[in-house]
Amino acid sequence: MFSRAYRAAITLPPLLWVAVFLLVPYALLLCYSFWSVSTSQTIVHSWTLDNYRELFRVNVYLQTLFRSMWVAARVMIFSLLLGYPLAYYLSFYAGARKDLFYQLVIIPLWVSYLVRAYAWKTILGSDGVLNTLLQYVHLTKHPLEFLLYSPFAVVLTLTHIYTPFAVLPIYAALEHIPRNLVEASHDLGASPSQTFWRVIFPLSIPGVLAGATFAFVLSLGDFLAPLLLGGPSGIMISNIVVSLFGAAYNWPLGAAISLCMLLLVVSLLTFSEKLEKKWSFR
């Protein structure tokens, strides 16, 4: 139906822009990961695998990566645990107030990330709201130190940020389930909880996978929360990359780590997509 000129007009401009501003930079990133930095702080354009060797040789990089993945995994699990029942409530129980509740879930998403992370800082600090509240009601005598500047704070904040990200795709998947399937299940003798595990949950899996992927991948690459709330024990892989591009000035090494992250993210996405397809029964 569409002429070649039309199709060229809609294809070429975005293609060009994306090529210049996404493809080329990623390609440069790739190149940089094989270069090195000289002692006089200039980039040496000679091809070497040193950066990658460094990654595996020096413990701190792998350790931080695994710690980041562990943080991301916890955020993913908590987001799902918090988000799934909420999405379920919205879809099956909320009735007329469904729209209102949906808006209530989205609103925090639109409030600045920085603002929310910062808010947790004020809540969790030793002079913060939570500690002074606990002391005020005499539950504790001294401020709880682990609340802030710890992986706990990072996981808590990121869970707060990414739970809505988990709720939305699960909600969408639940909404797509025809209600007569639930009735059919009851009709055939399955109680509500049997119906949930045999019919509703399996059909919601694509949504769960999407939400889990978002939560995991976005948490993995997060650098703000660890910087604001993580303290020394809460450093994550992105913080290392940021410092390598900043004070630590080692662009090639930073590029190598970034590339690994990119590969990791892309493979996770592909894996998740394949799983989603397997579980989608359209």
Binding site: E183, D187, G189, L203, F281
Partner: protein, 365 residues
């Protein structure tokens, strides 16, 4: 007003309780009354159709029996025990849904065996019963297919098998044939009917299609605006409609409005003797009961004669439906065997016995 049909007479005589006893069930959605005071009994082994227009409440009644809605008042008993107090997953009732509601993530076999698995029956028993059920609906070859890959008619059979495999006391069917094309529909009507006979379970079938109801049912319960208009066998309901609505809803009819005085019914220029009380009267006269004759017969108390001209002729295959304008201004539908051409003025007659006295159908708010 229910006319007693054979299965119920049998069970009444033998003293057996009706399978399902619906007593004074009423249901409103908000301020909107959908069912008003429904009482109905369903016998063992009978094929009952709940017939009605959209909005008549037929689907709501079915859903109340299944357990997906609860009535505002009244009760339902199955074999003497309160059915309406049980949630749907504890009733010995299964439903064939209008759009089949097959589980997309399970194979055909897993769909059919769902109720049995939920009841935690032993695996080999499940396997046996599932293959029997699939064979019964002639879908054994599709055991490992997914619902998304089979046609509508095939999905319908699977929905049927899935319900029947649980050996319910009662099977509910919610307009299961409405999504099928005409030929497939007719075929399925015959199959469903013979299946019901074979299995011996009571079927409660909901439809808006009166032809379908007549073909399949032992009894028809005609529902209008939340109340039962008439409950009777197809033949009974066709030849002896109780109300004007029934007469018009099922098949075609002519409604003749007139008066009975001193044993004579008079509608416009037509009159005949009746043994009915005096007062205003409404008669239902089926088009096929009006005969076209060659010449005017003599005054005959057994026949009502009149003349008319053809205004419109509609071809229906074996028969045609004629709109005839009578001398006194009345227009009547006449069903006759198809002829190539019909000329101007016709002589027509009908037997007084075929003019059935019907009640007015009141407007309901």
């Amino acid at each position: 007003m229910a006319t007693i049909s054979e299965p119920v007479i049998r069970s009444a005589k033998s003293g057996v309780r009706a399978l399902l006893d619906i007593r004074n069930v009423a249901k409103s959605f908000g301020t909107n009354p959908v069912l008003r005071d429904i009482s109905l009994q369903i016998a063992e082994g009978e094929f009952l159709t709940i017939l009605g227009e959209s909005g008549s409440g037929k689907t709501t009644l079915l859903r109340i029996i299944a357990g997906f809605e609860s009535a505002n008042s009244g009760e339902i008993l199955m074999e003497g025990e309160r059915l309406d107090l049980l949630p749907p997953y504890r009733r010995r009732v299964n439903t064939v849904f209008q759009h089949y509601a097959l589980f997309p993530h399970l194979t055909v076999q897993e769909n059919v065996g769902y109720g049995l698995r939920v009841a935690k029956l032993p695996k080999d028993e499940i396997a046996t019963r599932v293959s029997e059920a699939l064979a019964m609906v002639k879908m054994s070859a599709f055991a490992n297919s997914k619902p998304g890959k089979i046609s509508g008619g095939q999905q319908q059979r699977i929905a049927l098998a899935r319900a029947l495999v649980n050996r319910p006391r009662l099977l509910l069917l919610d307009e299961p044939l409405s999504a099928l094309d005409a030929n497939l529909r007719r075929q399925m009507q015959v199959e469903l009917k013979s299946l019901q006979r074979e299995v011996g379970i009571s079927f409660v079938f909901v439809t808006h299609d009166q032809e379908e109801a007549m073909v399949m049912s032992d009894r028809i319960a005609l529902l209008r605006m939340g109340e039962l208009e008439q409950v009777a066998s197809p033949r009974e309901i066709y030849s002896r409609p109780a109300t004007a609505y029934t007469a018009q809803f099922i098949g075609h009819t002519n409604l003749l409005r007139g008066e009975i005085k001193a044993g004579v019914a008079r509608c416009n220029s037509l009159s005949w003797r009746v043994g009915l009380p005096e007062g205003p009267a409404l008669f239902s006269l089926r088009p096929e009961n009006i005969r076209i004759v060659n010449s005017e017969t003599g005054p005959d108390i057994d026949v009502v004669s009149f003349r008319g001209r053809i205004r419109h002729q509609a071809f229906h295959g074996a028969t045609e439906l004629l709109q005839v304008l009578c001398d006194d201004g009345l227009t009547l539908s006449v069903r006759a065997a198809t002829r190539e051409t019909r000329q101007g003025e016709l002589h027509l007659e009908f037997s007084p016995a075929d003019a059935v006295l019907v009640r007015e159908s009141p407007e309901r708010g």
